[in-house]
């Protein structure tokens, strides 16, 4: 099978690129290593739509962050992805004013609206900053978004517009066949005229497949606490400490879905190390009280860890000068989520400059169908839905109030959800305080019923993560 464009990697950048290109008159394929899109850095980050004040002026990060922020809110509206433009505060003690002023200068030269607030002004934006906070840099354009739901929605729209998304298709080699690039994967080979490398942690390796520069890549782990949604009312904005060389620091933020997160740490590691460490958790426990007055570690419902892929000090987004029709986005760490729509826009330009024809698809989907959520339905509408389909009246995930109808819809979505985690990322079943203790088995039953897969083949998520490992009374231990 031959395509116009092949996107390698289904993280936020790959999904944004596939979505953009699928709205042109092109055949597009996205190859993803894991069982679902948004399975690596995209599913485990802070979910912040950064304003762009802290990027070094003149860098790609500054440019794409600011442009990406401007594109994000409309994109989220089109895609029906939960987000909140809640603003952000970089808070500082008395002696931190100078640091804030320096940030403000960067903000000004990046064209980002910010304002330095005194304690009183800060308290108006966020009543729960800690007692030692004297000043804050307020950025009204910042906010939060569900990063994995954004990537999934982009991939879904790409599929609705004709793109193909192939999961569990890790590209292990790329060869040149008849003037086309051929990707070799466990799911077979795929040919395309253009290749866009959005392979995140593996982007340098994918570069190597075509003779491009294999960038020296560093990985930095970030650990987080997720708090019960009862904490959501206590955090109104994203609260950052003053940034350091290691990054933006440990933040306290609302999530787009109503929880609160504390994190991330920034610890050098290797690719794939997403194990949370006790030291990292202790570091967060020490840091949060410095900026936030109401830490509630006893309301923790989940901890997680993501890995940043860092190459030098800036994003590397360019077309290859060694390999024909090959475009790369490497080293997309923070603010990669915010930048993704702008990176995709730029990659489209790079492809056009390679000779790709740009003709908009006449009937392309732009506004995605609204997802029905129990809490936003009127009584009349809900009753009509239940009458048509009783699954709308059956709550499966009691913590997050997710109905069976939503789960069935997720299983049959354009990029289908076939694992318990994939369902969780799409509709939040299992994301609540019982963490799937009650609903995971019911979600498994529904996946099994809807897909015909036997229960013991239903996986938690990536790889061999089957939950049922042995049928009762058929045990064959030793």
């Amino acid at each position: 099978m031959s395509y116009d464009v092949m996107v390698v990697g289904g993280g936020i950048v790959g999904c944004a690129v596939a979505d953009r290109l699928a709205r042109l008159d092109l055949s597009v394929i996205l190859l993803e290593r894991d069982d679902d899109v948004a399975s690596y850095a995209t599913r485990a980050n802070s979910g912040i739509v950064h304003a762009g004040y802290d990027c070094e002026p003149g860098t790609a990060k500054a440019r794409f962050n600011v442009r990406g922020n401007a594109m994000m809110w409309n994109l989220a509206e089109e895609l029906d992805v939960p987000c909140r433009k809640c603003g952000s505060l970089v808070v500082a003690p008395e002696e931190g004013l100078e640091g804030l002023e320096e940030l403000k200068r960067k903000a000004d030269s990046n064209g980002v609206v910010t304002e330095i607030l005194d304690r009183e002004g800060t308290l108006k934006k966020e009543p729960n900053v800690s007692d030692n906070v004297a000043y804050a840099l307020y950025a009204p354009e910042a906010g939060v978004i569900s990063p994995y739901q954004l990537a999934i929605a982009l991939a879904d729209r790409a599929v609705l517009n004709g793109a193909e998304v192939v999961t569990e298709a890790e590209v292990t080699a790329i060869s040149r066949e008849n003037n086309l690039w051929r990707a070799h994967t466990p799911k077979g080979t795929f040919d395309a005229k253009y290749v866009v490398n959005c392979a995140g942690p593996e982007a340098a390796a994918v570069n190597g497949f075509v003779g491009e520069e294999v960038y020296e890549t560093e990985y930095r782990r970030g650990d987080y606490f997720v708090l019960d949604n009862t904490e959501g009312k206590n955090v109104s904005t994203v609260i950052f400490p003053l940034p350091t060389a290691a990054g933006k620091g440990i933040l306290v933020a609302p999530t787009a879905d109503g929880n609160v997160i504390y994190g991330p740490t920034s610890v050098p590691t290797y690719d794939g190390d997403t194990a949370v460490t006790a030291e990292a958790l202790d570091e967060i426990r020490r840091s949060v009280p410095l900026t936030y007055a109401r830490p509630a570690f006893n309301k923790c419902i989940r901890i997680y860890c993501g890995v940043r892929t860092v190459i030098g000090h800036d994003f590397i987004i360019r077309k290859s000068d060694r390999a024909e029709n090959f475009v790369m986005a490497c080293g997309i760490c923070s603010p990669g989520l915010t930048s993704a729509p702008a990176i995709a826009e730029y990659i489209e330009e790079l492809l056009v400059s390679c000779g790709m024809e740009r003709r908009p698809k006449a009937d392309a989907v732009t506004v995605m169908p609204r997802k029905l959520r129990l809490e936003s339905l009127s009584e009349e509408r809900l009753n009509t839905l239940v009458k048509e389909n009783p699954a709308w009246g059956k709550i499966v995930c009691r913590c997050e109030k997710v109905t069976e109808a939503e789960i069935v819809e997720a299983i049959h979505s354009p990029v289908p959800a076939t694992t318990v985690d994939a369902v969780k990322r799409r509709v939040r079943a299992g994301m609540g305080r019982c963490q799937g203790g009650f609903c995971a088995t019911r979600v498994m039953e529904i996946i099994s019923r809807e897909t015909g897969m036997p229960l013991d083949e239903i996986r938690k998520g990536i790889g061999h993560s089957e939950i049922a490992v042995l049928a009762v009374k058929e045990a064959d231990y030793d």
């Binding site: 949370v276 203790g437 995971a440 490992v469």
Partner: protein, 412 residues
């Protein structure tokens, strides 16, 4: 749809069924709302024996115990709504619920009985370090997978925490062919029943490490093992003594939390020790007409006690709905003194008759004396060979002798 009733019972497990039956016996029009497709609650997955010794005077399995109540409910006019989840509750006893049959249901009740049970603490709640692979489950989820779905969730199992469900699952998984390597308990004593330690661990040669904890989990996408270590007096792990066990499954039995999330929009007072409502001896909460019983009130060891407590609550709810029960003007607090973790009910109405006070101790005590005092007098003083946190205890008081706030304490 609007439904009106004298008593609405939220939850169709053992507590809910017993409460509904008691209210029905008093002549109340009762609505019983259950979110699952059948009555019985968690008992339906507890296929081991040991239920009913006190209530029925015979040993039953969980489903058998539940079934006796299901049959009784079937003989009455109690209206049962299955697959129906209560979404909201207000102080004036108005509820909304969602049902696949009727859509949104508005319920107006003379009295409300809370009987929603409890949920298990998770790996996230204890901030368990390491990877998050397939293989880490609460003991209750493993129990449902095993006893209802027919699958084991691991072949080499470690259990963290010695709550009763964890102990039961140690035996259950062993019987089904899994190898249960050990049970690891943070505290120097078990939080489960002594009989379960004997029958589920000792009888099967499964070791238990007290004063130990799991320090981190390894493996991805499937669990490959875990590290564990003894804890110091501060309950922090001593990492220099960390050890590794190869296993593909970690079951958590690290505590049960009453599921009172529904009370967010009410002013029901919650006790921080139990995470359940503060109630009087008839199990009425701080909101008049709202009663609580079973594991949503405080976590019980024995379902028999749940049934008895729920009958108290259900009968009181019917009385309230008929205007036959209102709290007395004088109410006494029941306080947990030295050595006592909590005592329940937390309030007593001045009056006549007897009241049972349930309590749990905060450590293992040998030969202690439980002393109950009120208004400067000692109401009772009983010597016991051993008291442990895993076993709920009770004392019975004559209410006429209660003349002031009551304190339960241990004397060594």
């Amino acid at each position: 749809m609007i439904k009106k009733c004298d008593v609405v019972v939220i939850g169709g497990g053992p507590a809910g069924m017993a409460a509904a039956l008691a209210a029905d016996k008093k002549g109340a029009k009762v609505l019983l709302v259950e979110r699952d497709g059948r009555l019985g609650g968690i008992l339906n997955q507890c296929i081991h024996a040991g239920f009913g010794l006190h209530y029925f005077g015979e040993e039953l399995t969980g489903p058998e115990y539940a079934h006796r109540f299901v049959l009784e409910v079937g003989k009455t006019d109690i209206e049962v709504l299955l697959n129906t989840m209560v979404l909201s509750l207000s102080d004036d006893r108005k509820l909304t619920a969602l049902s696949p049959e009727f859509g949104l249901v508005h319920i107006e009740a003379g009295a409300v009985v809370l009987a929603m049970g409890c949920r298990e603490r998770t790996a996230g709640a204890i901030a368990l370090a390491g990877t998050r692979p397939a293989g880490i489950y609460t003991a209750g989820m493993a129990q449902k997978m095993c006893n209802v779905e027919g699958y084991l969730v691991g072949k080499r199992v470690v259990i963290l925490g010695s709550g009763d469900i964890g102990l039961i699952m140690a035996r259950r998984m062993t019987l089904e062919g899994a190898k249960v390597e050990r049970v690891i308990e943070l505290m120097p004593y078990s939080s489960g029943l002594k009989r379960n330690i004997v029958q589920c661990l000792e009888d099967f040669g499964i070791p238990i490490d007290y004063s130990h904890t799991v320090t981190r989990v390894v493996g991805k996408p499937r669990m490959e093992g875990l590290y564990y270590a003894p804890v110091g007096a501060d309950r922090k792990p001593v990492l220099s003594e960390e050890k590794f066990i190869e296993c593909d499954c970690l079951l958590l039995s690290v505590g049960l939390i009453p599921e009172n999330d529904l009370l967010t929009d009410t002013s029901v007072e919650i006790a921080s020790v139990t995470s359940g409502a503060v109630v009087d001896e008839r199990r009425m909460t701080s909101v008049k007409g709202v009663f609580s019983c079973g594991n949503v009130l405080h976590v019980h060891d024995l379902v028999d006690n749940v049934s008895h407590e729920a009958e108290t609550a259900g009968a009181a709810a019917a009385d309230y709905a008929f205007g036959k029960y209102s709290p007395s003007a004088v109410r006494y607090r029941v306080n947990a003194g030295k050595g006592v973790r909590y005592a329940l009910p937390q309030l007593l109405n001045a009056g006549e008759g007897e009241a049972e006070i349930f309590y749990r101790v905060d450590n293992v005590y040998r030969n202690p004396k439980i002393v109950v005092e009120s208004g400067g007098k000692t109401l009772c003083s009983k010597k016991r060979p051993v008291l442990a946190p895993g076993e709920m205890e009770k004392v019975t008081l004559n209410l006429t002798s209660v003349t002031g706030d009551v304190t339960l304490r241990l004397e060594m």
